[in-house]
């Protein structure tokens, strides 16, 4: 999907960690700091780490800004903004020797480290009669001054981001600003500023771009923000956004929408997806389009609700009883999330099959730059063969009596919606004949199963014309470098592409995982002798998947602690795997 492989960060970059107790506005601070650096022309990425707790517990964000495109975080940071003592204690090992930590002057005595600088945060708040939650605003003001950023651009962002008491917030920020000296200068880069959005926002906007009519969900991390986001813009876009009683209702109600001709999507995580599987199988049998956003998190069961994983790949591939075609895609960044959500919805409707967007907490909740120029038109690829009059709604022009499951060459029947004058539209969870009436006839059963599976063949053919496997060639670091390739999927794209670049390795990222893009994957493997799969699960699920198609990974780097790979960590493990 990418028009060109974007350049990945050079060494010239800055990492800022902001941390404190849950409820202290850490997340919001991360967004403000990210936007501040982003507007200076830096390419920005925000990694968010928070516990499943509303108050208390340690929360932090790492904001990384660089001249070149980045989509991963580094362990090492240049600046720590410690809203409590714990933040410094937890993260001091990350702080560069020449780095600085800003903390409350009250805490300074407890932090004898020469890199820690006390700022009279609590004193300022007391003098301004500001609530404790504004400590972060004061800290951000101090950060701006310390890094040589002018106050007016910060004030503008604060006004946009802080709806409650903007004047007092700005006053407090200015006091923080005036309380410190400039210690380093972040030079603005005179170039185009890119949007900074979360993967979840990219998915939501992509769905809207794809023609979404309704989004239904039951709140579950990490896809809840899609529900919140779409609920917020539902009026502008003319969407129905519903929070229903449970995930079973969510998917079944969505199928009701689909039957009536409205494009519906649902969002959940593994636990909710367990409840949705009967509905998924129904969609397969009744040939009803549905798009499911499955945001993976650490499990099994409730697991670590606010942390990430890539452990539902095989589940997503096989969920639901018996066999039916499905489209499964795992975007790796915001542009891919947008493009594939839009195209995924189209695929679901043109082939009348379930489409699954496999996301995870790191993709959904991290902030990415969104470069419009990298995104192709999701309406451009022709999916169904020319002359096949079976695009959604085409059934209305068919001869009567209308047959909902009419046999065709591609397996895709002309789709019509009620009311259809003179026609009757019957969909069925039982095996059925072309008219949608229940059957147990052995021949009919075979014919209809073949019809449904034929759609998968044509989908695989259609996807040949779309870039479904991304490769990054890396710079030539010597004759042997490209013989080793990192294999990754989903949110590991960011760290793998950056480490691949640093080490001169090839990187292969299949974006579409079902139908598996065998030919494009084969091409990507040309010249590769050692393939190392990098995954956030315990058993290398992608490694196992490619074996079904005759490919073999001969090394694996796995991580199951819920956290994203940092550049340093992955680089170390790759070097070990290559040794």
């Amino acid at each position: 999907m990418m028009k060109e492989t974007p350049a990945i960060a050079g060494l010239d970059n800055l990492s800022v960690l902001v941390g404190g107790k849950a409820g202290a506005g850490i997340d919001r601070s991360g967004t403000i700091l990210g936007k501040l650096l982003n507007r200076l022309g830096y390419r920005t990425f925000i990694y968010r780490d928070y516990p499943s707790i509303i108050r208390g517990g340690h929360t932090f964000s790492i904001i990384r800004a660089a001249k070149d495109r980045i989509v991963a975080h580094r362990d090492e940071v240049d600046i720590i903004l410690a809203l409590d003592r714990e933040t410094f204690v937890h993260h001091q090992h990350r702080l560069k020797k020449e780095g600085i930590c800003l903390c409350d002057a009250r805490e300074k005595t407890a932090l004898p480290d020469p890199r820690a600088f006390g700022i009279p945060l609590s004193e300022i708040l007391r003098e301004e009669k500001a609530p404790a939650v504004m400590t972060n605003t004061c800290m951000i003001g101090a950060f701006a001054k310390a890094t040589g950023i002018d106050f007016p651009p910060l004030e503008k962002i604060l006004r946009q981001e802080l709806r409650k008491e903007p004047e007092l917030n700005i006053k407090v920020a200015k006091r923080g600003y005036d309380a410190v000296n400039e210690v380093l200068t972040i030079q603005p880069l005179p170039r185009e500023v890119l949007p900074l959005i979360t993967g979840n926002e990219a998915i939501a906007l992509g769905l809207v771009r794809g023609g979404l009519d309704a989004y239904l969900s039951y709140p579950m991390t990490p896809t809840t923000p899609i529900l919140h986001y779409l609920a917020g813009v539902s009026r502008e876009f003319g969407l129905d956004v519903l929070h229903l009683e449970n995930e079973i209702s969510v998917i079944l109600t969505a199928l009701g929408y689909a039957y009536a001709g409205k494009k519906a999507a649902v969002g959940t995580s593994g636990g909710g997806f367990c409840l949705m599987t009967e509905g998924l199988s129904l969609a397969g049998m009744a040939e009803l389009p549905i798009l499911v956003v499955l945001g993976q998190r650490t499990g099994p069961s409730t697991g670590l609700p606010t942390y990430s994983a890539q452990s539902d790949l095989l589940f997503a591939l096989h969920a639901g009883q018996d066999e039916f075609p499905r489209f499964l895609v795992a975007p790796g960044d915001a542009e891919e999330a947008y493009y594939w959500s839009a195209l995924g919805l189209r695929i679901s409707w043109e082939f009348q099959i379930p489409a699954l967007i496999l996301s995870d907490k790191n993709l959904g909740e991290s902030f990415f730059n969104f470069d419009r120029k990298l995104v192709e038109d999701p309406e451009a690829p022709d999916l169904l063969p020319a002359g096949e009059n079976n695009k959604p709604g085409a059934g209305a022009g068919q001869d009567l009596p209308y047959r909902r499951y009419k046999l065709t060459g591609t397996g895709v029947s002309p789709l019509a919606f009620p009311p259809l004058a003179g026609g009757v539209i019957k969909v069925n969870s039982y095996e059925h004949d072309e008219a949608g009436i229940t059957t147990e006839d052995p021949r009919q059963t075979t014919v209809m199963q073949e019809k449904r599976l034929r759609k998968a063949e044509y989908l695989a053919r259609a996807l040949e014309a779309v870039k479904t496997v991304n490769t990054y060639e890396g710079e030539d670091h010597g004759a042997h470098a490209h013989q080793t390739a990192l294999l990754c999927w989903g949110s590991n794209k960011g760290p793998c592409f950056e480490v691949g670049r640093r080490l001169g390795l090839k990187v292969i990222q299949p974006v579409v995982l079902n139908p598996f893009p065998t030919r494009q994957f084969q091409q990507a493997l040309a010249g590769v002798e050692k393939l190392i799969t990098v995954e956030n699960n315990a058993t290398a699920q992608l490694g196992r998947l490619i074996r079904n198609y005759g490919f073999q990974a001969n090394g694996k780097i796995l991580k199951t602690d819920g956290r994203a790979f940092s550049i340093e960590e992955l680089e170390k493990k790759v070097k070990e795997a290559m040794a």
Binding site: K35, N38, R39, V193, L194, P195, L196, I197, E201, L205, V208, R209, G211, D213, A214, R235, E236, F237, G238, L239, D240, L244, E245, N246, I248, S249, V250, L252, T253, A254, L255, G256, Y257, A258, Y259, A260, G261, K262, A264, E278, L282, A286, F370, R372, F417, P418, P419, L420, G422, G423, V424, I425, K426, V427, N428, S429, H432, G436, I437, T438
Partner: protein, 318 residues
Amino acid sequence: MTAYNFETSTPNTWCPGCGNFPLLNAVKAVLQEPGEGETPTPPENLVLVAGIGCHGKIVDYLNINSFYSIHGRVLPVATGIKLANPDLEVIGFAGDGDAYGEGLEHLIYAAKRNIDITVIIHNNRVYSLTTGQFSPTSPLGFPGRSTPAGSPEPPLNPLELLLASGATFLARGFSSQPEQMKQIIREAINHRGFALVDILQVCVTFFNLHQYYAERVYTVEDHDPADYFQALNKIREWDYGASPSGTSPGGASPGKANPGGEEKERIPLGILYKKEAPTFVRRLSPAGGGNREEAKRESGTAAKERQALIEKILAGSK
């Protein structure tokens, strides 16, 4: 103009004498012959939704738009269809196992939301398609195949539960009284809001209560269905066989004469509750436009406007 043909050629596989036959005929009659002074709903605007169980076959027997859903999931599908296109007349069919068991949560929520659909429950008080186990409305002590020593659970009174959940139309019919069934179903369909009709449908194979009902049912008179407490009292008049010492056929074989010679309980039929309230569709579309109208715009125009709006949002996310 020839009359619309409501029949399909699908062979009917209900047991001879099944209470589903008169129910099917009542539904067909209501859809075919509009009530006095009513304009008939064009057949293409009707959508039937069924679950899984003997009841579900009804959609194969009617030449009308239908969604043959899965067990317990009639309500969410019907809700989705109605929300997607409020001009459609959506009628759900479900069994007692389906709606009161597997999918009970959806039923409560449909009532709570007052979604403008009609649900007809084929309440035979036994699982028949799975060959005779106790259901949510089987009497206490019912000797089903999974509970040979008798069902250990008292039944639900579904109408009482739904009244408490916010349903705005509740009625009970009996499969052996077709005229009354027709009248109730017609009124349920005409009702604006969530309407549920509990039909005491006789299963001749696994729980034949024909005679039992015939001796006990009566049609409510001098009853004000708009009065919540009158409705509650009527609904509680019969408990579906919850009390072990009662005269319901729990424990005893359903065919046996009433044990103990106690006074027979009475089973009220008719419209037990009816109230006007804003529907879910109304609440989602506040007066003065909003989502629904906009969503119905020409998709081409909408796509262009959407794109422009997306670009605006992206530009504002820097």
